[in-house]
Assembly symmetry: C2
């Protein structure tokens, strides 16, 4: 996209959005924020996508009800507790919306609610009830970082981005924050993303764009193969940019989708890079596939292989593990046509041709795999479709983080 | 099965079978055997099941051809090299059969061939050619242990069993050896099992029994979710027990299947217990499922979850991870009916009822999870079917074994 520019501001970059985060007391550690708020000064078209796990967090269920009308004005999210598998979970998720709606003078139905943390522990609602005034006071037009910090768990880096682009000559903005995997009392690799834009766009197109982009970005990330109960990505579009409202597919919609992909791709890569215990970002790029579905299945299969992830940790050019994962991907393909290469800032090296090994320099391979971003290229030589998936290496620290006792 | 008795002898317990193993030089370590042979003094009905990976090891392809007629007399298997993804793989797998057939004066078509080790490295055939006479000399009626040692890779314990049972008043025997996951230069979690019996049984029933039993046993094991390219389980039935040949389903076939399940269940548990880096055997027992398929999918989903495996390593009663894995199992079920308990020699403790947490003693839970065999009971409360899956915990050593460089 030629006119896309990266800017600062995260979820408050787009016109009409404020954000903030505080420590309200769900977590015992006072220096870690645990409650985030994003607020739109006007009614937004809104859409969200949710985890496909049959066990769904209570906030997911409540948000689904609130977005039935395609409208929203705020996002409230706590970390430290997933509010999932609790008998009183829905009631408490609704209370979170009620508290914030009252203080902001909006309808509780216009609130998106999310939680991330340990599953199956009763959510203490008092810290949220008592903290919501302070939370509203913390709202500001440079509060994206505060909100991001409040949704982080064992994330080691903030994941925030904003972009500027033009639709029909009108300058528009879009921003997002996300959290990856891990907590102090570690549990699900819960993935959350909150996006804002000032583009004016028809809600069903907004939803369609979000679904399509999620397929290519967030759904192509794997840290450990465990699909969380609380995953959610939401977008609110305020319309304040002043562009001609996007009411149909065409060039403007394409521009919007491209901006959305840029934002989601950035956040997806950052989530994979910051996977629990990770030292390396892995990117599997599958090309020349018979169709997109095959490309995606193969890319995700490779990126999810524990054996490959451990090999990448050890900078071991063990391409047999790539081929093995290609072979058990749930789709039709001709394994005798598969080529594989490893790539990084250190260079690129072909290791497999037509499904069989070829001679290569182990020294060069080690050098390439020593980098902290590794690209695994899989050429299926069977068509013209491609896909990319992101993951991370499997390290001692993943075991440490997830083997530690919860309390 | 009332008349089942565990006996010694492994694959040589049944009448007519000899076995042995030697170091021929595929491995550099002279103290580790690397070539195994099992030989039947008479023609056997034989069957095998193979990996579903689309990338198949060359020995798998050759064995598939040799078993087209349902007959076999020998198994040859090397460790240290998988002979997979090599341009000359099939040719070398056939040579292995030729060498052993010549020395044993049998047809090469009657040889089952298998290999386990690194994928994509050319198999040196000379050590096998030059070692086959010594291998044949090593055959004996107490050589099962030697054959087992020769197929082991990073396995830390031998996996061998034999049982005695009666069919129509005739004493019959069945034995098996297997290898689990890991190598000195680690690669695929290749799983091999070789079974022998002196039961007389129709080949198509033999094949049917093996398929059915494998579904319930070996296919319910997961160490790391990576489906190998070289998995194979074969069975040879010499018929020398002298029972009335099993030519139809009925009581005798049922007895045979029960014995087969006992052998395969034992070997499957031993493979899981000896998973790479494992300190604990995990058994997930799913009951009250709507059908067997649901029970199997749920049991395997739970046992494969990296997060749960890491929690079990840490003796953490993090039941939310069990429910999460139940929730993403690829089948229909009502998550609000699910109960979960943890069990070991230390006792049993309920941790989740109707999909929600219940109060439990963390002290007792820790004590239960400190054992080296943990049972995770999942009650779906939706029917009368059940299934069991086996796995192991995820430990630092798994990362170490698989992150180390191949050479």
């Amino acid at each position: 996209m030629s006119n896309l520019k990266y800017i600062s501001g995260g979820v408050t970059a787009a016109k009409g959005f404020l954000a903030g985060g505080i420590h309200c007391g769900i977590r015992r550690n006072h220096s870690k924020k645990d409650l985030a708020l994003i607020f739109s000064q006007t009614e937004c078209d809104a859409a969200a996508v949710y985890t496909l796990n049959k066990v769904k967090g209570s906030p997911i269920i409540v948000t689904g009800q609130h977005l039935l009308n395609g409208k929203a004005r705020a996002v409230i999210c706590n970390s430290g507790n997933a509010n999932t598998c609790n008998a009183d979970g829905e009631q408490k998720a609704k209370l979170m919306c009620d508290y914030v709606a009252e203080k902001l003078d909006i309808s509780a139905d216009d609130v998106i609610v999310a939680s991330t943390g340990v599953i199956g522990q009763v959510l203490p609602i008092e810290p949220i009830r008592d903290g919501v005034q302070e939370l509203v006071n913390a709202l500001s037009d440079n509060g994206s970082g505060g909100a991001e910090q409040a949704i982080m768990t064992t994330d080691t880096r903030e994941k925030e981005i904003a972009v500027e682009f033009e639709i029909g000559g009108t300058v528009c903005k879009m921003g997002g924050i996300a959290k990856g995997s891990g907590m102090i009392h570690p549990n699900m690799a819960t993935m959350l993303g909150f996006l804002t834009t000032d583009v004016s766009i028809n809600q069903s197109l907004l939803h369609e764009a979000l679904l399509a982009s999620t397929q290519k970005t967030f759904n192509m990330v794997s840290v450990d193969g465990d699909t969380s109960t609380n995953d959610m990505v939401s977008i609110m579009a305020s319309g304040l940019a002043g562009n001609n409202r996007i009411n149909a597919k065409g060039a403007d919609f394409d521009t919007f989708c491209e901006a959305l992909n840029a934002v989601n791709t950035f956040l997806s890569r950052e989530i994979a890079r910051d996977g629990e215990g990770a030292t390396k970002l892995l990117e599997c790029h599958v090309t020349q596939a018979a169709d997109t579905q095959v490309a995606r299945l193969v890319a995700k299969s490779v990126i999810t292989s524990s054996l490959l992830k451990a090999a990448m940790f050890g900078a071991d050019a063990n391409w047999g593990r790539v081929l093995c994962a290609v072979g058990y991907a749930d789709c039709e393909l001709d394994v005798n046509k598969v080529d594989v290469s490893f790539e990084s800032v250190g260079g690129i090296i072909a290791v497999c041709k037509n499904g069989a090994g070829i001679e290569f320099s182990e020294d060069l391979a080690s050098k390439i795999l020593a980098a902290d971003e590794i690209k695994i290229n899989v050429y299926l030589n069977s068509g013209y479709s491609e896909a990319t998936a992101w993951g991370c290496d499997l390290t001692y620290d993943y075991v440490k983080i997830n083997g530690d006792y919860r309390t």
